[in-house]
């Protein structure tokens, strides 16, 4: 089946080589980081996690969102998702791959990564996160590949994948819940120390992930003969709408608690993010961009006529993705570290090599995604009508 990824148009190969070039640059930057240490990043004693962990946090959500297709299709027998489920599963594979790479490039001693397995530490959330992420990766590879192989032969997928598919549902929830627990259980980090963290994570995942998926589906429709289906796309857009509303609502709950309680420590990170603290305002324009985009895209999504119009839908989805990326990534991670435990402000901004490595990892993810989609689309183009 994989040979489908090895033949394609000139445009396909240009894209592949472009990705390889970006990966190459990222790899060189990573070699520099291995050599000189994380000192080449913008990280500091006070802001010890930054851009890498922000991408990781955002992408776990993208991975988890596949479940928004799996649940309606397999649990509620929503046939319209039949053709598109595979796109969600393969998006998850690509997203988890990037997650793992971001963790790896963030490590001070990557050669020792196996220590996590050699000295399993049940009380460390990071151990569980590694476990559930790996499990989720394998689940999606196995499920995606077997169902696709069955499709190619025009037969129903083997019986043994069914239990795996059902298992993948709570598992998807678990990857994002456990990732939220990385943050939510730390004393003294006011922005993170909140019980609603996991719920917020899931809400933003179910908004951002499906938004990416819809855009991918539209791309696929444009560039291939495979049509994921108008109804599937509209159904996903509705999921994005509800999830984004919940996401913004949960965020406002945090704002209420922080400011109505009047506890200074709880308010400071939010003040830093949206107004700046002690004259430090690096993130303020970003956070306001996220806020404006969030509300603007909700307006476009809630209104049926702008949701059904593909032009405005696309705009709204891009808005959702950018808003979720800023809020879940930079805002959440940096806001947890600023101000520091001494109520001092040390600001953070990624450096050039750090950005190069980040783009490199994204390029790896896009490469994985492209190859898997190429195969999936190839199979679908041949027998687009298959439903089981």
């Amino acid at each position: 089946m994989f040979e489908r990824a090895l033949s394609g148009s000139n445009r396909y190969w240009a894209w592949i080589f472009f990705l390889l070039a970006v990966i190459g640059v990222g790899f060189l930057a990573y070699m520099k980081q291995l050599n000189e240490g994380l000192g080449i990043t913008g990280l500091s004693r006070d802001v010890s996690w930054g851009f890498y962990i922000a991408q990781f946090t955002f992408l776990v959500g993208v991975a988890a969102s596949a479940v928004m297709l799996v649940i309606p299709y397999y649990l509620h027998n929503f046939k319209k998702f039949g053709k598109i489920v595979i796109l969600g599963e393969f998006l998850a594979v690509s997203a988890v791959t990037m997650c793992m790479l971001f963790i790896l490039v963030d490590m001070g001693q990557p050669m020792r990564v196996l220590n996590v397995v050699l000295h399993p530490t049940l009380n460390s959330v990071m151990f569980w996160d590694a476990l559930v992420l790996n499990g989720y990766l394998f689940l999606n590879i196995i499920i995606g590949w077997t169902t696709l192989a069955a499709d190619q032969k025009q037969v129903a997928p083997p019986q043994w994948v069914k239990p795996l598919i059902y298992l993948s549902i709570p598992w998807a929830v678990s990857i994002h819940t456990v990732t939220a627990f990385l943050y939510a259980g730390l004393p003294g980090r006011h922005l993170w120390l909140t019980a609603i963290m996991a719920a917020r994570f899931l809400a933003s995942a179910f908004a951002g992930g499906p938004a990416i998926l819809v855009l991918l589906a539209l791309l696929v429709r444009k560039f291939s003969k495979f049509d994921p289906g108008q109804e599937a796309i509209q159904a996903l857009a509705k999921i994005v709408t509800y999830a984004m509303c919940a996401n913004v609502f949960f965020f406002l709950l945090e704002v209420f608690t922080a400011f109505y309680s009047g506890i200074p420590g709880h308010a400071h990170p939010l003040v830093y993010l949206f107004a700046g603290l002690d004259g430090h305002t690096k993130l303020v324009p970003w956070m306001w961009t996220a806020a404006v985009l969030a509300f603007a895209s909700i307006a476009l999504l809630v209104n049926p006529s702008t949701r059904q119009n593909e032009g405005t839908l696309k705009l709204a989805l891009v808005g959702v993705i950018i808003a979720a990326w800023i809020d879940k990534g930079m805002g959440l991670v940096i806001g947890g570290f600023v101000p520091n435990p001494f109520e001092r402000v040390t600001e953070y901004a990624p450096t050039m090599p750090e950005l190069a490595i980040t783009f490199g990892v994204y390029a790896v993810g896009l490469l994985v995604l492209t190859l898997l989609y190429k195969v999936a689309i190839g199979v679908r183009e041949e027998n687009g009508a298959v439903e089981h």
Partner: protein, 269 residues
């Protein structure tokens, strides 16, 4: 395996200080491992159920009083001096009242003297340490024998989760190679230097306790830092805590920090 290495590191440093092993016992573990692990702990070694500190800031008057303690620690532990403040490594340092106790700093009409005081800060060796709870490799662990929160530099993967978890900013990460660029002015050959990409912090001078010595900062402090067993009702630290008004940093977080600060100390107390 893990226990062996820890015991080894402990013993290696003991034996090195005793002159049983050589400085090489630490830098090249494999060669002298056997020899070192065969030596037994020093009978003079200090023991306690749970080590803790009482810091009397009224006894720290001048800038030098603070610097003496800081230098004592940083010199013997090969703590590098780095130019970039973002990459700073510190095991013990000073800070003002407002930032040491940020959750109490709202009070603008309190005792002026205290407000203007500086404090010596280092790892609290918490009884319920958040850093230990989150570490995915047990590179940060609490010693069962005496409650010291230790750091195994050979196991740390540099994920910096412990830095996010410690509410006291007690940990530093080696963003750059501390062995390069003369960052360590005069190297103490009897204590290991660290490599790039690992986290480090105050380890309560476990290596000095093992041979019957007080922590370096306490020794250099002229009585401003008192070290002792928090679980022994007859210890000097317990006497001070009973007699004086002491506060701890962020006790509300439940980590149970093991540093008590005596405040005031003027005639009015």
């Amino acid at each position: 395996m893990s226990i062996n290495r820890r015991q080894f590191l402990k013993l290696a440093s003991v034996s090195t200080i005793l002159g049983v092993g050589s400085a090489a016992a630490i830098t090249s573990i494999s060669r002298s491992g056997l020899e070192a692990s065969q030596s037994s702990p020093d009978p003079k070694g200090l023991k306690a159920k749970r080590w803790g500190f009482v810091v009397d800031v009224s006894k720290l008057k001048t800038e030098e009083d603070y610097q003496k303690c800081i230098d004592a620690c940083h010199n013997i532990h090969n703590v590098p001096t780095l130019k970039n403040p973002k990459h700073e490594i510190k095991w013990i340092w000073k800070d003002d009242y407002e930032h040491t106790f940020p959750n109490m700093a709202e009070d603008k009409i309190m005792n002026k003297e205290l407000q203007e005081k500086n404090f010596l800060l280092f790892c609290n060796h918490c009884a319920n340490p958040a850093c230990v709870r989150v570490c995915p490799t047990q590179a940060t662990f609490k010693r069962k024998s005496d409650g010291i929160v230790m750091q195994d530099m050979h196991r740390c993967i540099g994920c910096r989760f412990c830095m996010a978890a410690c509410p006291f900013g007690a940990r530093s990460f080696n963003y750059v190679d501390p062995r390069k660029d003369n960052a360590i002015k005069v190297e103490n050959k009897e204590f290991p230097t660290r490599m790039i990409g690992v986290v480090e912090k105050c380890t309560a001078c476990y290596e000095r306790l093992a041979v019957g010595k007080q922590p370096a900062c306490a020794e250099a402090s002229d009585g401003a830092i008192v070290f002792g067993d928090l679980e022994d009702p007859k210890s000097e630290v317990r006497r001070l805590i009973a007699e004086k008004y002491t506060i701890r940093r962020k006790p509300e977080l439940g980590t149970q920090p093991g540093i008590y600060y005596v405040i005031g100390g003027g005639e009015h107390v």
